[in-house]
Symmetry: C2
Subunit: 346 residues, 2 copies
């Protein structure tokens, strides 16, 4: 990041909810406190998964996420399916075939055993659907009032079977941005439950495993430069990260943006911009522009990606910036969020 | 486990602190709720780390633990060094050379940034000492009152360079049990702080990386049948797990048990049995009895294992049981703890 103040982070001496929101404050926390402590070339790629050479020509991807979503159960998913799919998808974004997961639980004293059973059953189903095995785990219990039911951490290992360098630094002018489906459903599914909003139909999370469609792009022979899932901070934050990481400008066409009507309505009621709302089953793929239509075609063969669309293009102009061409013909910069939009969305 | 009641776990419909204590209740939770959901041969080995075949002749170990210790800082360590060494040691117990770690933080809103800095600095130092790199991570923030400062999860990958099958099932009659040092320090260091006990000298945690001494046993050509670190539930629980996993009996000689005087005093004051107190830098190695003296010699060459001792022997008698031969000449069964002795010790 360009800002180089020492810690404390800006004016903050204490961690705020916003530091976990996927926006600029979270990036400052990572860039100024956490990354410097562990600085090494593997961590510094700024990718969701580390790519590790294990000898014998074996390359694997390795990633982790903790899940603190509330409520634990929501339309279209729960903390268990989220914990499996989130980590599976981080592996897929390195172009890896997800193979093995760990599962670690921090349980608050008093959690109903039946709730734990529902969570692990959901994890089992999600793991089976994604073709991964949970091979190791851990369980801790914390005092009542020191947790929130259950937190789940998963780490994952995937096998990389290609020779591409799929990373932000590979994105270049002339690339197209292909997005795998309509955006904003996961965040609005959660918020609709929390706020008690009712629509004609229930908004369901898009939570889904993305390895098959992501790997299909590679198997189709496309020159995949980068893959990025659109989780905390949504499409806007993901594109800002890539624009900054690659030193390129990204242009989005507002006309093309795919948002379901009920999601758009929920966003309007709650004052959210769907570009910033978290997804758990959507990703952006960066491929050379001439391959964009083929990428959409490949993605649309998968149920989770029927609504894949070409979202924008990459150029050398305005490096580090994301610009939206509005329906009205104006242009505006789509910045990274400052802080938190949706707390505990994943 | 022999008990086959369906869930709810015994008479419990809710998770208790004791379900995280490393004793019988924790085993019931794992055996009846969590393991059945994910049942597969890799998970079912009952080992701290899964051993994975990655192709190309590459075998790796993979493990995870969450750390919820309180207080965050204690004599001899803190949640950061614990989170690194604990996972490094789980890899070492598979005979793997620890290589890569993930680090995931669940931070309670309001945590001082300076505290986070101390934790990550400690992790960096511990990682450097253990020769591992933190290559991927995650940060989540939860609302005030929904956490306890900071929880840390680490997962780890290690490379297996030997052809041994280091697992409970490899333990057999005629093996000796070698323990790498005096026991009970980690648990008593934590409890002395919590209870405000003062001794002439401060009891410091034994928290230390164990990969070098553990791998030295293998490099010395010893027939290492099993390695197990003596964390939650202490030496007694670890031996019970092995006795049950291997279907063997284990005999301990009380006379040989190494416990520092201040640790023994703290145990007496607080009513703990040092056999059940958690360690974070101690392990048991199972080798054929004729190799036990050599194993002790190899271990004692390492600073963390200067006090290595021969703790007992394995036989076909009383399978699944651990028996203590007391100084007075009597014999008593050292059972697995029912529930919790020391909450949130790691």
């Amino acid at each position: 990041m360009s800002d180089t103040c020492p810690v404390p982070i800006g004016q903050y001496e204490r961690v705020l909810m916003a530091h976990g929101g996927g926006g600029r404050l979270m990036h400052q926390l990572l860039e100024r406190v956490i990354r410097p402590a562990f600085s090494n070339p593997l961590l510094d790629t700024g990718h969701d998964a580390a790519v590790l050479e294990m000898g014998g020509g074996v390359r694997i991807a390795f990633t982790t996420d903790s899940y603190v979503v509330r409520p634990l159960f929501f339309p279209g998913g729960d903390i268990g399916s989220l914990a499996v799919n989130g980590t599976v998808n981080d592996l897929a974004m390195a172009g890896a075939k997800p193979s093995f997961l760990s599962a670690a639980f921090i349980i608050e004293e008093g959690l109903a055993v039946s709730t734990l059973e529902r969570v692990v059953a959901s994890m089992r189903e999600a793991a089976a659907a994604a073709g991964v095995e949970v091979v190791t785990g851990d369980t801790k219990v914390v005092d009542r009032g020191k947790g929130d039911g259950i937190y789940v951490n998963t780490a994952g290992i995937g096998v990389i079977g290609h020779l591409l360098t799929i990373a932000p630094a590979s994105v270049t002018a002339g690339d197209a941005v292909v997005v795998s489906g309509d955006i904003g459903r996961h965040g609005m599914a959660i918020m609709a439950v929390r706020e008690g909003l009712e629509f004609e139909s229930t908004i369901e999370s898009d939570c889904a495993p993305l390895a098959k469609p992501a790997l299909a792009l590679i198997e189709a022979g496309l020159d995949v430069h980068c893959l990025r899932d659109l989780t905390r901070g949504g499409l806007a934050s993901a594109l800002n990260e890539i624009a900054q990481g690659a030193g390129v400008g990204i242009t989005l066409a507002e006309r093309a943006v795919r948002v379901r009507e009920d999601v758009r309505a929920a966003c309007e009621i709650l004052g959210f911009d769907p570009l910033y709302v978290a997804n758990e089953g959507r990703f952006a793929a960066f491929v050379p522009a001439p391959q964009a239509a083929r990428a959409v075609e490949v993605l649309q063969a998968h149920a989770a990606c029927r609504e894949a669309w070409i979202a924008g293009s990459v150029s050398a102009d305005m490096p580090g910036r994301v610009v939206l061409h509005s329906v009205m013909g104006s242009r505006r910069i789509v910045d990274m969020l400052s802080g938190e939009q949706l707390p505990r969305i994943c």
